[in-house]
C-alpha cells in the first residue's frame, strides 16, 4: 500500500517487483532534485540512478532509475513522475519488453605477488581493462550487467580491493524504434 496514508493496509501482501524506468526530461536546473525529491518525499526506493544530457540541441536528459515496489506502487511512481512539469515521458523498460541494461565500474586493487597476478588474470576473464597501473596497484574498468560487476567485486575482495566507483544502470530498449 501507499506509504503516507494513515489508513494503509498492512504491508507485505503484494509481491515486490523491480522496475527500470527511463525518464526523458528537459535539462533545466533542479530537474534531478525534483525527481529525487519525489522519491524521498513519498517514500519510494531508488536502487540505482543515472543521469546525463542525451540530446544537447534539445536540452534533454535521460534519467534511468531502478526502483522496487508492489505493482500498485510502481504504477503510482510512474504517474507521479509523469505529472512533473519538466518530464516529457516516462518509459517502463521492464514492462515494455526486454531492455538492455549496462553499468560501468572503476575498481582499484592493491597487492603484490600472487594476488597481483591473480587479479590481472580474473580481470582478463571478465574482460576488464587496465586503465591505470602502478607497481603495486591496478585500476580496472569493467562494463556489464549489475550482477557481473557485483561478482567481480567479490572476487577482488581477498586480492586487495581498495575502492569502487560505479555509474549505476544505463538502459535502453531493444529493436529499431525509439522509446
Amino acid at each position: 500500500m501507499q506509504p503516507g496514508s494513515v489508513y494503509a493496509i498492512k504491508e507485505g501482501k503484494d509481491a515486490v517487483e523491480q522496475h527500470t524506468l527511463s525518464i526523458l526530461v528537459d535539462n533545466e536546473p533542479g530537474v534531478l532534485a525534483r525527481v529525487i525529491g519525489l522519491f524521498s518525499g513519498r517514500g519510494y526506493n531508488i536502487e540505482s540512478l543515472t543521469v546525463s544530457e542525451t540530446e544537447h540541441q534539445k536540452h534533454r536528459s535521460r534519467i534511468t532509475i531502478v526502483t522496487t515496489g508492489s505493482a500498485q506502487v510502481i504504477d503510482q511512481i510512474k504517474a507521479q513522475l509523469g505529472r512533473l512539469v519538466p518530464v516529457h515521458r516516462v518509459i517502463d523498460l521492464t514492462v515494455d519488453g526486454k531492455a538492455i541494461e549496462r553499468e560501468l565500474m572503476l575498481i582499484k586493487v592493491r597487492g603484490s605477488g600472487d594476488h597481483r597476478s591473480e587479479a590481472l588474470r580474473l580481470a582478463e576473464a571478465f574482460r576488464a581493462r587496465v586503465i591505470d597501473a602502478t607497481t603495486e596497484s591496478f585500476v580496472f574498468e569493467l562494463t556489464g550487467k549489475t550482477d557481473k560487476l557485483d561478482q567481480f567485486i567479490v572476487l577482488m575482495q581477498p586480492l586487495g580491493l581498495v575502492e569502487v566507483s560505479r555509474t549505476g544502470i544505463a538502459a535502453i530498449a531493444r529493436g529499431p524504434e525509439a522509446t
Binding site: 501507499q2 494513515v6 489508513y7 536546473p29 533542479g30 504517474a79 505529472r83 512539469v85 516529457h88
Partner: protein, 588 residues
C-alpha cells in the same frame, strides 16, 4: 508584441496581460523594483497584508471564489519562507496560485546574503512547479508559463523567484500568445471506451452513489451544471467531500450531505453499501475512506480525475477515466442519452428506502435547550439569517469548520472556501479578505474558532486599510475544540494545552483595530446580533459564546469503517473513551 523593458516592468506587464486585477503582497528589499513599478500604474490593485502567509491565503480565497489564478508577491528570505504554508495548502487543495518572490542578486546567491533563502529548494515539494529566473530575457516567458501551469490540468501553486538584479536589468518582453509549453500538456478529454464502459456500469447499478469532490468546482461552472443534470436524470443519491460542497445544492432531495469522518450517517452508510460508486473529481483522501480495507467493500468503482496519479492511489478502482471533469461528464451524459439508458427504477426505489431509513436517524441532531448557545445552532441561525443573500463562507480549521460544513447549506459552487487537505488554522480570515476583494458587495463570513482566528488576527488591520467588510463569526468555546475532542477520544480526557487561558476580549480587540465587535452570550441575543453583523458595512469580530464542551458528531473514529460511526446520541463518556482501538490511536 515584443519590446524592451526592465524585469520589474515585465512583472507588472505580464500580470496585466494575464488578466490579473488584484494581487496580495508585502514589500521588502528584494522586491522593491517591482513595488516601484506597481506604484507607477493603476491597472493592478495591490492589497497590503500584515504577514506574508496571509497574502497566500488571500490569493487562495480569491482564486477559489472566482475560478481565476490568485497572485501573491513577497520578498526574499522570510517573505518566501512565510509563504510555505499557503503554498502547501494550495497544493493539497488544488488551488491555482502564482507566487512571485524576490531573491538576492544573482552574484550573491549561495553566499548566505542578507535575507537569502533557497526559495526554489524550499518550495520545490510544496509547489506544482517553480522557477529561479537568472536571465531577464527568460522572465516574460517564465511568467506566462507560470500562469499556464498554475491553471492547467490539476491546478496548483507555482513560484517564480526573481533576483533583484534581474528586476533591474533590461530585456525583451513577449506577450502570452507567443508561449507554448514544451512538456506540460495534461490530458483533458476522457477515453471513449472507458466512458462507454462506465455508462453501461451506471445503467446496471442497483445501489449507486455519486461521490464528488473539489475537482468539480475546479473544473468550472459547466462541470457543476453537467453534474446536476446527470444526477437528476439518473435519480441517484449524491454525497460530496468537504472540498466539493456547493457543486450540488444542499436543499435537494437527492443530496445526502457530506461524507467522511464527520459526514452524515446516510452518506457514509450509502458509500459502504453501494454497488456502483461514481467518484468525480475526488481523491479518496483518508478523511473520506476511513479504514481502507473496509471501504465500500462490495462496490464497483468509477473514478474521474484529471490527475493520473489520483487513480488507484489509495483505492483500486474498476474504471479510471483521466480527464477534465466537465469534459468527461459531458461525454458521459451524451452517451447516457444516446444509449437511451434508464436507471433500474425498482432497485433504485429499494435503495432510496434504505437511505431514507438511515436519514431517519437524523445524525446531525443536537439538543438546544436553555440560554447556552449550541455551536450547531449558531451556524444554523447564521445560515437562516443569510439565506437569499450573496454570501461566501470561509473557515478556519477545527470543530467550527466541520459544523459549518454540516449545518450551512451550500447551493452554489465557489461559495465555500476552507483548508481541506492541509488543515491550516489561520486560513479563514485572510481567505475571506481575498474573497471580499473579488466580490466587493457580497457578504463574506469567516466561520472561525477562538484559537484559529488568533493565528492570523493581524489581518483585521488589512481589512480596515482596504475597506473590506469581512465578518469573523467566532464560535468561542475557549478550547481548541477538535484537539480536545481527540484528547477525550485518545488520551483519557487529559486536556493537555487545549484550553486557552488568556483569550483576548474580542470586542475590545475589534475596536482596537478600528473594526466592530459584537458579542452574543445567550440564545435570545443571537438573532439580533447576527442581524447587526450583517447590517454593519465594516469588518466585524463576532464573539459567539457557545457551549464549551460540545463535540463534533457524527464521527468515524480513527481506524474504523463507514458503517461504524459514532453518533452523538451514543457518545457517552465511556463510548468516547473506547471508540478508538490501539491500532487506530497511531492514526492521525
Amino acid at each position: 508584441m515584443t519590446r524592451q523593458m526592465t524585469g520589474a516592468e515585465m512583472v507588472v506587464q505580464a500580470l496585466i496581460d494575464q488578466g490579473v486585477e488584484h494581487l496580495f503582497g508585502y514589500p521588502g528589499g528584494a522586491v522593491l523594483p517591482i513595488y516601484d513599478e506597481i506604484f507607477q500604474q493603476d491597472k493592478l490593485e495591490h492589497i497590503l497584508v500584515r504577514h506574508e502567509q496571509a497574502a497566500g491565503h488571500a490569493a487562495e480565497g480569491y482564486a477559489r471564489s472566482t475560478g481565476k489564478v490568485g497572485v501573491a508577491l513577497v520578498t526574499s528570505g522570510p517573505g518566501a519562507t512565510n509563504m510555505v504554508t499557503p503554498l502547501t495548502d494550495a497544493l493539497m487543495d488544488s488551488i491555482p496560485m502564482v507566487c512571485i518572490t524576490g531573491q538576492v542578486a544573482t552574484h550573491l546567491i549561495g553566499s548566505d546574503a542578507f535575507q537569502e533563502a533557497d526559495t526554489v529548494g524550499i518550495t520545490r515539494p510544496c509547489t506544482k512547479h517553480n522557477w529561479l529566473v537568472k536571465d531577464v530575457n527568460d522572465l516574460a516567458r517564465i511568467l506566462h508559463e507560470a500562469f499556464y501551469v498554475a491553471r492547467s490540468g490539476r491546478p496548483g501553486p507555482v513560484v517564480v523567484d526573481i533576483p533583484k538584479d534581474v528586476q533591474f536589468a533590461t530585456g525583451t518582453y513577449e506577450g502570452p500568445a507567443r508561449v507554448a509549453h514544451k512538456t506540460y500538456h495534461p490530458q483533458t478529454k476522457g477515453d471513449d471506451r472507458a466512458i462507454r464502459a462506465a455508462v453501461e456500469m451506471i445503467a446496471k447499478a442497483k445501489r449507486p452513489i455519486f461521490y464528488t469532490g473539489g475537482g468539480v468546482i475546479n473544473s468550472g461552472p459547466e462541470a457543476t451544471r453537467l453534474l446536476r443534470e446527470f444526477v437528476r436524470e439518473t435519480g441517484f443519491p449524491i454525497t460530496s467531500t468537504l472540498m466539493g460542497l456547493g457543486a450540488y445544492p444542499a436543499s435537494d432531495r437527492q443530496w445526502l450531505g457530506m461524507l467522511g469522518m464527520h459526514g452524515t450517517f446516510e452518506a457514509n452508510n450509502a458509500m459502504h453499501d453501494c454497488d456502483v460508486m461514481i467518484a468525480v473529481g475526488a481523491r479518496f483522501d483518508d478523511r473520506i475512506t476511513g479504514r481502507l480495507d473496509a471501504f465500500s467493500p462490495g462496490s464497483k468503482k468509477i473514478h474521474i480525475d484529471i490527475d493520473p496519479s489520483s487513480i488507484n492511489k489509495n483505492v483500486r478502482v474498476d474504471i479510471g477515466i483521466i480527464g477534465d471533469v466537465g469534459s468527461v461528464l459531458g461525454e458521459m451524459l451524451t452517451a447516457w442519452r444516446a444509449g437511451k439508458h434508464a436507471p433500474e427504477q425498482a432497485a433504485l426505489k429499494t435503495w432510496w428506502g434504505e437511505i431514507e431509513r438511515w436519514r431517519g436517524r437524523r445524525s446531525l441532531g443536537y439538543r438546544q435547550s436553555g440560554q447556552t448557545i449550541m455551536p450547531q445552532y449558531a451556524i444554523e441561525q447564521l445560515y437562516k439569517k443569510t439565506l437569499g443573500r450573496d454570501v461566501y463562507i470561509t473557515t478556519e480549521v477545527g470543530q467550527h469548520q466541520m459544523w459549518a460544513a454540516q449545518y450551512f447549506g451550500f447551493e452554489e459552487p465557489n461559495r465555500w472556501m476552507t483548508s481541506g487537505g492541509l488543515g491550516t488554522m489561520g486560513y479563514g480570515l485572510p481567505a475571506a479578505l481575498g474573497v471580499q476583494v473579488a466580490h466587493r458587495d457580497a457578504l463574506v463570513v469567516d466561520i472561525a474558532g477562538d484559537a484559529s482566528i488568533l493565528m492570523n488576527m493581524q489581518e483585521l488591520s488589512t481589512a480596515i486599510q482596504h475597506e473590506l467588510p469581512v465578518k469573523a463569526f467566532i464560535l468561542n468555546n475557549q478550547y481548541m475544540g477538535m484537539v480536545r475532542q481527540w484528547q477525550q477520544l485518545l488520551h483519557g480526557n487529559r486536556l493537555s494545552h487545549s484550553y486557552t487561558d488568556a483569550l483576548p476580549d474580542f470586542v475590545k480587540l475589534a475596536e482596537a483595530y478600528g473594526a466592530v465587535g459584537i458579542r452574543a452570550e445567550k440564545v435570545s441575543d443571537l438573532d439580533g446580533a447576527i442581524d447587526e453583523m450583517i447590517s454593519v458595512k465594516r469588518p466585524v469580530l463576532f464573539d459567539c459564546r457557545v457551549a464549551n464542551l460540545a463535540n463534533c458528531f457524527p464521527m468515524i473514529p480513527s481506524g474504523k469503517a463507514h458503517n461504524e460511526m459514532l453518533l452523538s446520541e451514543d457518545a457517552t463518556d465511556e463510548a468516547i473513551a473506547t471508540a478508538i482501538d490501539e491500532e487506530g490511536k497511531a492514526l492521525v
